[in-house]
Symmetry: C2
Subunit: 307 residues, 2 copies
């Protein structure tokens, strides 16, 4: 039996999963089920105690790319394989989100918006794509796709990852020691890192101030990776001129948080890349079949690595 | 002798032209010159009477893609060939501009901006690229590049032109009779038509109201092609939900114009695609050499067609 918990679109997921996996009965939280008979769980941030008693659980499929929250749980034995989504339509959405932020900065759309409110007709100097240096942190399936697509559009892209990754048109920066150099050459820093103990708090005041004066930050990775107080300080001083933020240390962002009203901040409620039902279910059912045939699923999480 | 008039970057154009064409003396307006000895003119909107007395003029090179203004002049004999820029870095800039508007609509960035001012944390349903139907009016070098690039990014693109143009991934709509159909299937209408007598006033109240309810308009063609009063009416009624406008019936846009402060309008001062010195000069010097060798230059304007 497959047990499902999805905070949104639960019924659509149930129907799609049942259709893709007719040999499994798909049941939804909070239906009462015999927990000992749950073979597979498909979840996004289920309530505490959700996994209690699931002694026959063969695998957990996470309805997203980030597994930081599920790895912290105490109701899930460390022997149960966790499988995350590796793209499922999210890379394209992430590219769209990042591209909007890049164009907003490169084409000075914030300044034009201010001029519009003042009824000022004034052309501004724009950098070409080739003059716009973008640094992408995280070169997994999503970050790699974003970096490579921006490079194909003519931007000067460098990418940073733990172990390096050769991508067409993307300058490769490898390991922690190379991070300050990548920041120093990035007019726009795009954070797409996975949430791991190593990336937590990574973008602190010291590193953020390595960005060139007038640089911009796009954060669609995880909120915990950026020191929000340091970011606010650098935006206030003008060292950073713009931040587009989709993720925050605490979500939903607290109503009193100063980021809401900062004039240099564009803020979205964790929507950069949303899981889509059809591609997610296709990936989960393919992975479930793989596991049943004794193969490794795509997106199997290495717990010690954190993704 | 080559005589130059550029409203911006005159000195940079002079140096670049002189370097590219060492056998020609390059002089700038308002230097006094023997007008009878001007062989070539390189101009963008020169003052009235600029061409008076240029009896030996071999060709006029326009520092832009649009030639509507120069075709209306009474100081330029109709026998002098006019050569316009056909890309010169403008297609890429136009793609950037249009893409920003497309992403703004598709990813509901205007609504997120409003939510931010209200400190509302609320995810909205987003259409995928494939669900977003874009109609591009004008499939010349710029419009064709934009249509084809959007199609390559996964958008559902249809293109409209006078004579048709097969472009990969772009549905082809041909001729005036097909225009209402193209509009009826366009969630986002992108106007990139050249300014000609035929396109003047084309997007009137009747045609604009053929767009589906909730559609958006991006106009980076010419202001005279869109009935601004009709557009304002459709924005006020909510039939159109957004307009991104770079061009206007009168430029600079009059300070009292209601478009400046309309909540559904994003407005820029004719900056979507600005001529860049280096590619423009490279194209002009290549075309000048072609003319001297008796070949047809790229971008030779057909006066009766208007581009």
């Amino acid at each position: 039996m497959l047990y499902l918990y999805a905070p949104q679109d639960m019924v659509r997921y149930q129907h799609a999963l049942q259709q893709a996996l007719p040999q499994h009965k798909v049941q939804c939280w909070p239906e009462e089920v015999a927990v000992g008979q749950v073979d597979y769980a498909v979840v996004w941030n289920p309530p505490a105690g959700f996994f209690n008693g699931m002694v026959n659980l063969q695998a957990v499929f996470v309805l997203g790319a980030g597994v930081d929250r599920i790895l912290k749980r105490d109701d899930l034995p460390s022997t149960v394989p966790i499988v995350r989504l590796t793209d499922a339509g999210m890379a394209q959405q992430m590219l769209e989100y990042v591209l909007y932020g890049v164009l907003h900065v490169q084409r000075q759309m914030g300044q034009y918006r201010r001029q519009q409110t003042l009824r000022q007709w004034q052309a501004l100097t724009a950098l070409s794509a080739g003059q716009t240096r973008i640094g992408v942190l995280g070169l997994g399936e999503i970050g790699g796709w974003v970096a490579q697509s921006l490079a194909a559009m003519g931007y000067a892209v460098a990418g940073w990852s733990r172990t390096g990754r050769q991508l067409p048109g993307v300058q490769d920066y490898i390991g922690e020691a190379a991070l300050p150099d990548l920041l120093a050459r990035s007019d726009i820093l795009v954070n797409l890192l996975p949430a791991t103990p190593q990336t937590r708090g990574l973008l602190n005041a010291y590193l953020l101030s390595r960005l060139p004066s007038g640089a911009a930050l796009i954060n669609a990775g995880r909120g915990e990776q950026v020191d929000e107080a340091a970011l606010l300080g650098l935006l206030d001083s003008g060292h950073l001129r713009f931040a587009m933020l989709d993720v925050f240390e605490v979500e939903p962002l607290e109503t009193v948080h100063p980021l809401w009203s900062h004039p240099s901040v564009l803020l979205t409620p964790h929507i950069a890349a949303m899981t889509q039902v059809q591609p997610a279910v296709a990936q989960i059912s393919a992975n479930l079949q793989a596991i049943k045939q004794g193969q490794l699923p795509h997106g199997l999480v290495e717990r010690e690595r954190g993704y």
